[in-house]
């Protein structure tokens, strides 16, 4: 018996931008990593080929907690991407990670209207079409 073919992701599939290869590779194992500048000892997000603090290129990926708090949130009722309309309404949030950087994502596994500013969240994963996984967040256990 063969594995059922998974449904294709309804999402825009993120391109692997320059410098972000390590981020996406880690998602294949559902590991959440952040890029750090070795000279500034500071996280760099989004991932880059140079540090925006010092212009240096001594960057490395380190495991991240995948935990944070909701900084701002909007609930989408009518997505532009027609393929995502079956998911609506859903919450789009800016999440402040414990490491001190902010990322955009969705907060799932709860009613979208229950996602409020200050909510503690933790990373969860959704498959992309090429074996990578997209980091999402859900209310922290």
């Amino acid at each position: 018996m063969s594995d059922p073919t998974p449904d294709p992701s309804p999402r825009i599939q993120p391109p692997v931008t320059e410098g972000a290869e390590g981020f996406w590779e880690a998602t294949r194992a559902r590991r959440y990593v952040l890029q750090w500048c070795l000279d500034c000892e500071a996280p760099v997000s989004y991932p880059r080929v140079v540090c925006p603090g010092c212009l240096g290129a001594r960057l490395e990926y380190r495991p991240a907690s995948g935990r944070g708090t909701v900084y701002a949130v909007t609930v989408e009722h009518r997505p532009q991407n027609p393929a995502m309309r079956s998911l609506a309404p859903y919450a789009v949030a800016l999440v402040d990670l414990e490491e001190g950087v902010r990322v955009l994502s969705n907060v799932v596994d709860c009613a979208p209207d229950d996602v409020t500013v200050g909510l503690a969240v933790a990373v969860t994963w959704e498959p992309l079409d090429d074996g990578r996984n997209l980091p999402l967040f859900r209310p922290a256990p």
């Binding site: 999402r11 825009i12 599939q13 993120p14 391109p15 692997v16 931008t17 320059e18 972000a20 989004y46 880059r48 080929v49 140079v50 925006p52 603090g53 010092c54 212009l55 290129a57 900084y71 701002a72 949130v73 909007t74 609930v75 989408e76 009722h77 009518r78 997505p79 532009q80 991407n81 995502m84 998911l87 859903y90 789009v92 949030a93 800016l94 902010r102 990322v103 955009l104 994502s105 969705n106 209207d113 409020t116 500013v117 200050g118 997209l134």
Partner: protein
């Protein structure tokens, strides 16, 4: 009289650092942003300056994407693209900007690697250029509606931080509609109530449909000349008294504080140049892509304290007869919004200062502000305009 001679830039600015890179093989190891960063670093080292000193950027593809990538929050920006002469044009503009006090340290950079790119399949990513690729990677997968999603996030944060309410945002749409009623060209002229706004569909919470600007056709133009020539022409001159442009980010996830736009820098700088205070402004034309956009402008330009925008608008002071006539043509919310509304801010400000706005004319208008907002609260440009009396 032309601008030459009496407005010479001679001695006003100097090039203090340089760098270049080339190889006998015709191929460089670095490319793209890494190569740009290396050139910037070397030129700054050459000058004895650091990235933190830079407050002006020039880039032929996108000065905004370039600045965001290197974490620069400039108060001078130039994406002029004239082909091979672009950098001479950048230098000319930068000298004028420095002479005018818009900024102090401008960096201009260029990198292209057509030979190396032949063996570099991802090179197209970089040439994609204007930040679109980063947005596709880090924001687009999450299904945020554009452009309203980022503004909804800003409204969410403002509400959570300052207790701003949907009723207060709605009041901005209501006051703006009162102006539109006096503009025969406005898309919507019927009276609007706070309840009407709150009853309109909540498509991208916390913003309702009537918190959002229109989608209409529209067009405009303006002509500038020297003050000397202006006096001999057909219309009373409207003088540029102050100007400033600042940006912090291109994507909303890179905006440092969603309740404070770069207008908090461009506004005070433009007022300083003009020698006027917010209290001196007779008419405010402030880009109202969404009600929250207008509210943030009121705070950042200094018409009220940060966080006070909600209570500030509730007495209807933005509307006809109010203390701060704002978006007197009916704005992007009720007059027109073809996509890039900034042109209409200037046209309406000029007409108000000429005194030709008919029923909606603000009596005795001598100082007007046209405050433009680009992308997602990303790039703010403030113009202070005045009449002969306030020049």
């Amino acid at each position: 009289m032309s601008g030459q001679g009496d407005r010479s830039l001679r001695g006003a600015a100097a090039i203090v650092g340089v760098a270049d890179a080339a190889s006998p093989t015709g191929v460089l190891d670095l490319w793209g942003r890494a190569l740009e960063a290396e050139m910037v670093r070397q030129a700054l080292d050459d000058a004895g300056l650091t990235l933190a000193d830079v407050d002006g950027v020039c880039h032929t593809t996108s000065s905004m994407a370039f600045a965001e990538y290197l974490g620069i929050h400039p108060s001078y920006t130039d994406s002029t693209m004239t082909g091979g002469s672009s950098f001479e044009v950048h230098a000319e503009h930068a000298a004028a900007a420095i002479a005018a006090g818009l900024c102090e340290v401008v960096v201009c950079v260029y990198a292209a690697t057509p030979r190396g790119d032949r063996n570099r399949p991802t090179a197209a990513n970089f040439r994609g250029g204007a930040g679109a690729d980063q947005m596709m990677a880090w924001e687009a997968p999450y299904g945020m509606r554009m452009p309203m999603g980022p503004y909804a996030l800003a409204a969410s944060r403002h509400m959570a931080t300052y207790g701003t309410t949907s009723e207060q945002l709605a009041q901005i749409a209501v006051s703006t509609r009162q102006w539109a009623a006096m503009n025969p060209s406005a898309r919507y002229r019927d009276p609007l109530t706070i309840d009407d706004v709150l009853a309109s569909p909540l498509e991208t919470s916390p913003l309702h449909k009537l918190d959002c600007c229109l989608v209409t056709d529209g067009a405009g133009a303006f002509v500038m000349t020297s003050a000397d020539r202006a006096r001999d022409l057909a219309q009373p001159p409207v003088y540029l008294l102050g100007a400033s442009t600042c940006h912090d980010h291109l994507m909303i996830s890179q905006m440092p504080d969603l309740t404070v736009t770069p207008g908090a820098r461009s506004g005070p700088a433009a007022f300083r140049m003009a020698g006027v205070k917010p209290d001196d402004v007779d008419v405010l034309e402030a880009y109202d892509s969404f009600t929250i956009t207008a509210l943030l402008h009121l705070e950042d330009l200094g018409f009220c304290e940060k966080g006070e925008g909600g209570p500030f608008v509730m007495d209807g002071k933005l509307g006809p007869g109010g203390a701060l006539p704002t978006n007197t043509n009916g704005g992007g919310l009720s007059y027109t919004h073809p996509g890039m509304y900034g042109m209409f801010l200037i046209v309406e400000a000029v007409r108000q200062l000429r005194g030709t706005c008919g029923e909606r004319q603000v009596p005795g208008a001598e100082v007007a502000v046209a405050h433009g907002s680009g992308m997602v609260l990303s790039c703010m440009a403030t113009l202070v305009l005045g009449t002969e009396a306030t020049r």
